[in-house]
Symmetry: C2
Subunit: 534 residues, 2 copies
Amino acid sequence: MPTHPQSYTDLCKLLREAATLGSVSALVSWDQETYMPKGGSAARAEQASILAGIVHERKTSKKIGNLIAACEANASLMADPRHGANVREMRRDYDLVTKLPGELVQELAKVGSQAQDVWKEARQKSDFKMFQPWLDRMMALTRRKAECYGVPKGGELYDALLDEYEPNITAREIDSIFTPLRKELTTLVAEVAQATKGTKASKGAKAKKPVKIDTRCLTEKVDPAIQHEFGQIVLRAMHFDLDAGRLDVTTHPFCSGIAPGDTRLTTRYRDEKFTDALYGTMHEGGHGLYEQGLPKALGTNTLFGTPLADAISLGIHESQSRMWENFVGRSREFWKFALPIIQKKFGKSFKQYDVEDFFRATNTVTPSLIRVEADEGTYNMHVMIRFEIERALLAGDLKTKDLPGVWNAKYQDYLGVKVPDDRRGCLQDVHWSFGLIGYFPTYTLGNLYAAQFWETINAKTPARGAAPSIKDLPKKIAKGEMGELREWLRKNIHQHGRQHGAGKLCKKITGKPLEAAPLLRHLRGKASEVYGIK
Amino acid sequence: MPTHPQSYTDLCKLLREAATLGSVSALVSWDQETYMPKGGSAARAEQASILAGIVHERKTSKKIGNLIAACEANASLMADPRHGANVREMRRDYDLVTKLPGELVQELAKVGSQAQDVWKEARQKSDFKMFQPWLDRMMALTRRKAECYGVPKGGELYDALLDEYEPNITAREIDSIFTPLRKELTTLVAEVAQATKGTKASKGAKAKKPVKIDTRCLTEKVDPAIQHEFGQIVLRAMHFDLDAGRLDVTTHPFCSGIAPGDTRLTTRYRDEKFTDALYGTMHEGGHGLYEQGLPKALGTNTLFGTPLADAISLGIHESQSRMWENFVGRSREFWKFALPIIQKKFGKSFKQYDVEDFFRATNTVTPSLIRVEADEGTYNMHVMIRFEIERALLAGDLKTKDLPGVWNAKYQDYLGVKVPDDRRGCLQDVHWSFGLIGYFPTYTLGNLYAAQFWETINAKTPARGAAPSIKDLPKKIAKGEMGELREWLRKNIHQHGRQHGAGKLCKKITGKPLEAAPLLRHLRGKASEVYGIK
């Protein structure tokens, strides 16, 4: 590699310093959720705020703007596939962060914080009317934010918001993938419902007994300390580096890629459902492997703080967590690996269950009301409902007063469930209360990317232009050998940072643009194994 | 209280912001010792360094200097006993922090870090010659530091260093207290040694059997988890607020008053000596109570970040930790309180011991080689040896090449022990390797202050001009009622922050300047109870 121009070196240094301060912010947040005594909360708010101010000041400095311009003027630098991409992404970040006037950022933070408090109370009381004026205010502020970002030609306001979480994709493109997904899933959910009821004999068809899945193996009690030990065994099997990370307990599980060499995961333990913590750990572990795989190690010419050492998008990040949680963790092969450990560590009551018990119990499809408790089969329905609604709200096609009615109708249509109250309906998620709009679809994009990558990884013969597959991966997983999968992800996804956008990366890996079919094949395949539907 | 002038309000705000950033530094250090995965150390060094730079920049800003000058020009503000003192102490801090040229600060940090690495290896190899040139370098740099601080008229270089840790005291003053202390303690140690040997009958005196203290009660095994639970019971009895603090495990115990409402203690557990962790916890708990008692709560007109919300000196801080560790924790009454809890929680093997067993076992006097393992009776000897040596080294009266010889001779003279090698001799402490000179005497000053305060607290009739005593404190401690002691400390010491200097505070509380007699009475009193000497 030739030496870089001074402007690029200086720019990387300034960004690294800002990122170092950002990493302190991340640690401060992590501590707040894990070990901070409650008496520390007032001081913590001041710490977080002063750090956020310093980081913002550094990221929006004129100096950075000038250095980016100087780099852009350097043709040979820009022609470098990696460092040229790095500068282009720096420009993207800088424009995004400098486009919002300080006054709007403060207003969003202030009103968002108040609205979140109102939301909490409204949810508790199941009182949508109480929350509605605050949702209106947040929608208005979010529209202003989208306008500041700027609507791409021929696009809509929602696209401008998406750009913050999932760059280079439009609402229309998402819709074109979500529509077939929703239709097929609606059918699948109905078929599963039918199978669980059974059918009487009719002309030309025999009677079918109702399919009942025994899930008792999931509700046996397991001591949290033993669950924690098991979680760490699984993380080690995933090749998550526990010398460069940790696993702790919080109310809401998360992964924080705090700093180079320091990636922290959290989960939560319930005595009576160990798979909650297990899948929480595998999910966050998937995010954690992405963070550990990004090329951000410190040292001479470190990329830390620059886009080449940063994750592509929320959707790609989510693809990593979902792959480990659902494609690995809910597979028959995973249970082949895990069962002997469970039977050894969890006690006698587990001796009565076999791999099929766990495979079936962790792959039930049951329409439900709450997104965060939904199973793999129905989860995306919850996301798509939110995407449709927030898109319509932002465009003004839906008034907030009509939100509960529309919400409930969609739950009835897509999932066949009746929403009994707004607490379990349109008030269940925190996102909208503080202006997180354009975020929900990334959850399902994650599932879609994961499914499409997974087909490539497991292809008998690699598709044209696609990355090579891993031979006999299921057999390897059954033996607890998951290192090759981690290497594949690292080589094909993690190590590139933001050199490629999500769409390009998807094509580079799978040979095709993102589509609904792989995820549908995956979900139908499981439903057919578990419920015997075709 | 009248409204403050704008310059004072602005000044307090700037100092609070610097302190908030300082509190982030403190959290980052705490995390490094407790939960940081080892892979995070390179990033942690960068985080710590960038934060230190920002805090230093803020604390030395011209703006602060100008505001202090503006406050000093305001006669009515300066006449206020509290806020006037606050400004005077701000001036003191500002002068201290701006007196060292940046180049010297960096050199001290850099050479200190290298010298510490060399010291580690030299200690391991017990090779003083290896360390000697680095000690010479650190001494030279420290002399330069002292010269920058400035030597007070008629004083010596050492006084300038003391000012950083124990303001307003001189080496000569310390010497005038340490000299009688050392003489009396030398005698006491010899008498105890005699008692443990016993004496034959002689003219006019009967034979005395050797006094043997049975310390088996301290070496019974106790599970660390149970020790941790016990430590928290003791902290609660001390009225340490665990909702505004924590107790964790580290290699070296410490207390960090991280931020308002957030004071964190650490200790370490050994299966086979539970009093190590217990006294570590009580010691750090004493520091922690001081931190929790300082008036630094956030809110309108908060004092956080200003001297009025800051600890007076290391000696006064240490007096708080030593009081709880030694005067409370090693008392017969404490064991009356603790024994039933121990017998309930620690298991059957503890049923055979009584209060006297624990009282005697935790108050043995045994000359030894290592300061951090020394008992209460001999600890100060270790400190005084270091004070004498570092004072002579700094003044140039002692050459580093002669250090081991002088060290060993003093151990022989004062404690009657033979130093077998430098690892267990002059290489045992880390302090000098990174320039911590003038720090050691604060340990013994802490013991002296604690003893003098303790006599006032327990006086049958309060001395003239002294603070009122607590009625029947020993009886209260025996019942686990320690709230009144905490209130006394809070009222007489903690709440004043740095309004008074250590010397003034001592006179205000005890009616007398600091002297050796109270500590000597305390130590002789215990030795007489345990060893039967007069």
